[in-house]
Symmetry: D2
Subunit: 396 residues, 4 copies
């Protein structure tokens, strides 16, 4: 096994917390783009599961294209009806005939996986009742079909991730998760949450968009009351996330007292007006952080065997986490990995870890420790694939 080309350096950038301004966004699990990411990934997972169980081996695929065309609804206080369903157009490539001639129920798997994701993610959105889901996926080119059997990079591409979250990233991410997984059980709200965070002048501002369930709110007065309670709950929660002052704003575009507030039937704006697409939302770090290096590759939906755009982004994140957790002097790590098409996945062209040490001093010991962590991650592509197959890693 050739020695891997790993470069470890002290970060050349100002630490994120020392920068004057920072902007971070997270799209909640019910945002149309997040839904598409989740669906794409679930299709990949279920397709792979089917292949493993029935064929004993995975087949090449790439389901990283899913388009959600918004439906149409008629909502008002105490009322909501679906006029036209959400259309979910699954694209991508897969193999519908195994090498031994067996039929692979690709379309059926894709559609069922889409429904499973929606059912397990959304409280009010019903995939059978509110959605029309169809699969337009085609067959991969014969060239691409071979690649999956080898463990080589399918493309010249790269992955990038950092860890830990900055204070603002933490505030944005945790607040969004809190709304999605905790507040949702307390109030008549949906999953299509968006938290936009800004840090300026030592303060954090969190602007939250939160959909309310129209049928459970009887009038404008009640809406204002519930929104007030929701805002208070978010404020209380967010206050504990950071030592800096945090200001929370909820649904700032509302015209309170009128119907022009954020009311939905199903908890997502996908029902009326907002389309979605894979790879347009959160990065593997769970946030969109424009001041950070990021890959534009969509991790979701790609095959977990050979696709660099998926594997290296996730590997970067896991390695960065491991570096920070296992090496006390490191306060932040950013990992870049560049593939060479056709070369073994565990032999990237170069893997770079850019390290923020707590004291600003990079020692040979730290370098060596970081390199060892990164090398260990690169040497275990099998383990990484397994994590992906088991959905143990979130990608958005």
């Amino acid at each position: 096994m050739a020695k891997r080309n790993i470069v470890v350096t002290e970060s050349e950038e100002t630490w994120i917390e020392d920068r004057r301004v920072e902007i971070v966004e997270r799209k909640g699990i019910g945002h149309p783009d997040s839904l598409c990411d989740g669906i794409a990934e679930r299709i990949s997972v279920e397709y792979t599961r089917w292949c493993m169980e029935n064929l004993g081996a995975p087949l090449h695929h790439n389901f990283d294209k899913v388009q959600l065309v918004a439906g149409d609804t008629d909502v008002d206080y105490g009322f909501g009806q679906l006029l036209s369903p959400i259309r979910i157009q699954i694209a991508g490539r897969g193999t519908s005939t195994a090498p031994d001639g067996r039929k692979v129920p690709m379309d059926a798997i894709a559609i069922d996986a889409t429904k499973a994701h929606i059912r397990e993610t959304m409280k009010y959105l019903d995939p059978d009742k509110h959605c029309v889901i169809d699969c337009y996926a085609g067959h991969g080119s014969s060239e691409l079909m071979h690649a999956v059997h080898e463990i080589t990079a399918n493309d010249t591409s790269f992955g990038v991730a950092h860890w830990p979250h900055s204070g603002l990233e933490h505030a944005v991410y945790e607040t969004c998760q809190y709304i999605n997984y905790d507040l949702l059980n307390q109030f008549p709200i949906g999953e299509d949450v968006k938290v936009m965070g800004a840090r300026m002048n030592g303060e954090i501002i969190l602007t939250c968009a939160i959909p309310f369930i129209s049928t459970q709110i009887k009038d404008a007065k009640e809406y204002i009351e519930i929104k007030g309670a929701v805002s208070q709950a978010v404020q209380t929660y967010a206050d504990k996330l950071d030592k800096r002052p945090v200001a929370v704003h909820v649904n700032t575009a509302d015209a309170d007292g009128t119907r022009n507030v954020f009311l939905t039937l199903t908890g997502t704006s996908a029902e009326c007006g907002d389309d979605g697409s894979v790879g347009r939302g959160n990065r593997v770090t769970g946030v969109i952080a424009p001041f950070r290096s990021a890959s534009l590759e969509a991790a979701a939906g790609k095959n977990p065997i050979s696709h660099v755009g998926k594997l290296y982004n996730v590997l970067g994140l896991l390695a960065a986490k491991d570096i920070v957790e296992s090496i006390p002097t490191v306060r932040e790590a950013q990992v870049y990995i560049l593939s060479q098409i056709g070369h073994p996945l565990d032999q990237p062209l170069v893997a770079t870890a850019s390290i923020q040490t707590r004291n600003g001093k990079m020692t040979e010991q730290v370098k060596s420790d970081v390199e060892a962590v990164l090398d260990r991650h690169l040497s275990d592509m099998i383990g990484l694939r397994d994590k992906l197959k088991k959905m143990e890693v979130t990608l958005y």
Copy 2:
């Protein structure tokens, strides 16, 4: 007019040219993702043109979702036939009835604009012969319909751009354009070019994927010859772009001598196996540069009146260019603009210019000059819209 909140600072980052490693990618104009970007933008332009000419005012819209589902072809040396067409699924929102009740031919405009873009971009791909183009766009929510009449931000969002290109970005961008606009006229090649650039150890490596037109290449021997000539031309061109050594590789995945080389009927892999989507390709700078700050918002297809995700990204680029060109001591500028939903577009929450000066010293004069340029750009949203309407700015 309130004073704008503009912050000008010396950059906190190491200059891109001083970093050890850099990775940059450009997807050519015929790449499935670039095609989707181009189509989305052209729809927005033509829809706006129709509204201006027929209604005297623009209408709200958002055509930033276009999904390309790859077709299927059968190609070989000297041969190529379409088996199944490329499906282009236009989504997004628009207004199909003007406030005065007049019908707006939204679907027809969208489909015609798609064809126009393909015809003007692609030499071998025929939108009527090789594509099925349908429009699934719906009607915007009534709430969103109002926003376009005011000049306020439609969302809490941000734009980011830098100028100039780094040496590597320059090499990648210009090489890709050279292949797309110059070599295309000399050799039987298509527009679905991808140039992946890496800079390490003082060297630049350009890995180019270039589709060849199957019907114009009679056998494997001729393919090798022509690919050799193309590689040589690219090498010669790229050598002049940078003082550092440049290594050019073309179609590294080819199995020369076999059919497993990059042959296409139409000049794009969209014909067989590669899907596309808006916002998954190049940023407004023309490249994908993971070491740079970037917005994940798709600029293409969004309405040019109120959509921050479009306007602020483009404004950032134009302002950065203007700063660098008009202030000699600035060698690089990065501009960030953060909107406030519901506030006037020319009054962002904050606009930040992060400046690399040639001598590393930020003076009050430079600050003042930069601020003036940025202020001027922010004050001319009308001019910016006009540029977008006339397609004078490239977005990808």
Copy 3:
């Protein structure tokens, strides 16, 4: 009220039972064409019901175009899996905005009605699991939107029906119904039954196609056994239907002992290979009888207010039944009704009853009695519409 133009004549044709050869066919309720008819009609019924309940009046519509694109399955003895779903493409015209501006959830009604029909008709076919159902219906032209408020004919068209069933028609119809509604509960068979009947040389031959449920039949031997039992049951049942000898053949295209027998996962060939369409199956008499006069208009899916193609065919059948049941000397009646576009529905251009009397003699009394029955039916268009709205009349 003007006197109606009703003509009653002794039939000019040889009585059907006196003809040498007769051919009759019935497509069972799970045949792809019957499914489309049933879906189209159910959409019309549910759309009308919604309008009555919410708007107090019906709206114009015409949902008589539904196309079923067959899916793909992989079946074998003891095994069955869906590879690709059945696509049901609903077309037609309706009104999605009521005159008072209220939104009519046309797409949602159409899709839900389709599922309701499948659920209530099919034992093994699950609309959510096996089908992708989408609605492409558009808006009626403004011209057509008016007609529904008046009680005038929407077209120059005609309706035709006869009663009673001939002996062969009776045998075909009842046998098909017996398999669909009785045998289905005793054997692992599906609803996509087709019975082709021929009468020649004083004998009746019934050729039946009956789908078997693959997952419930473990091997070729069991298939042969069950098919034998099914054939025997059909033979026993059919023997009682007619005094003439009846020969029953089931699944004559089977290659017994191999996999090439009529196995299905869902009980209909729509799952794999057989498409369906409205108006291509049984006439309102429940059979396809090429020796009889018939209208080619599809009754299913048309609006029950003004559409001649629906109303006059059903009215013809009900009037013929009433004539035969109430006038003892009549052994067969055939009713033809021709509309005049724009004229009141109860004032057709001409309504003709062609009568077979038992003794071959048409008297003035019989003429007068028949005319009275026909006149009564024509005078009660409201009652006819109610029957249609309540689904008290079968149309196929």
Copy 4:
């Protein structure tokens, strides 16, 4: 070769001309249903042509399902614009991989054939500009794939046709063809013509619907003038077709002087409001004649090798024509042919010719002559297929 089971009888029915009332309809070549028939058949022809040229043999297929979903237009005197295109959804079954593994461009053939048919049939409707054409055709079940190689009936089915046209059928058919092929060149009218004929009390009434081209008629006055001229031309033509008095009515639903007249942009109501489907229009005799025996099978689009629903209907018509033309004493022939699934096509279960002799007397000589003609037709299935492949027979 076994003797064929051919039965020749004197007709048991009153001659059509002796009946009191007769109704006949023809849908012109631009009617949405006729367009679907024409498209379906052209796909079958082109698919077969491709297979013959490239594989040397035909492949099984069945393209007899095509659904046209109406578009939307905005028309007025002197004005017309497409708002939303006509969607043509091709379904059916074919083979996309030849037995030797070669790819058959089924989707591309189907789409191209659709465009070719529209281009060659319609003067104003442009398939690229006004239509979105997509192919949803799947693969035939393996069982059905075999049948085409043998010359056996694919189904238990029947064909029926008569010749000659009655006087009314003649008037309806020729008038419709005259408008479609002659008047079209003289006036600004389109192909979506419908002629409904009724014969009562010794008179013929022809009610014609004729679309006018909106962009070529400047106002209501001109419309009335042109419609008057068109009506006059039709009247003059129709007067010569029959000795009985003929009354011609054109566009009786028009509200003259308003916009509510039959104006179209493209010459067919498919552009706005009227959907179409295969098999819902004219029979192989070119008319819809409810008083005649007819098959409900759609002849268009079915494979010309083994599909009884196509072959026997056409054979019936050609044989009836031949009988009438070659045997002077025969004034009308009706031919019925019933297949046996799995048996040779040229050995139907029974072929019946029901003959109207001029003098009402069936002789052994006539029987023998008729039988000989029918036998000759049945013995030349190859010739029949060739006629269909060359589009020498019209099917609707």
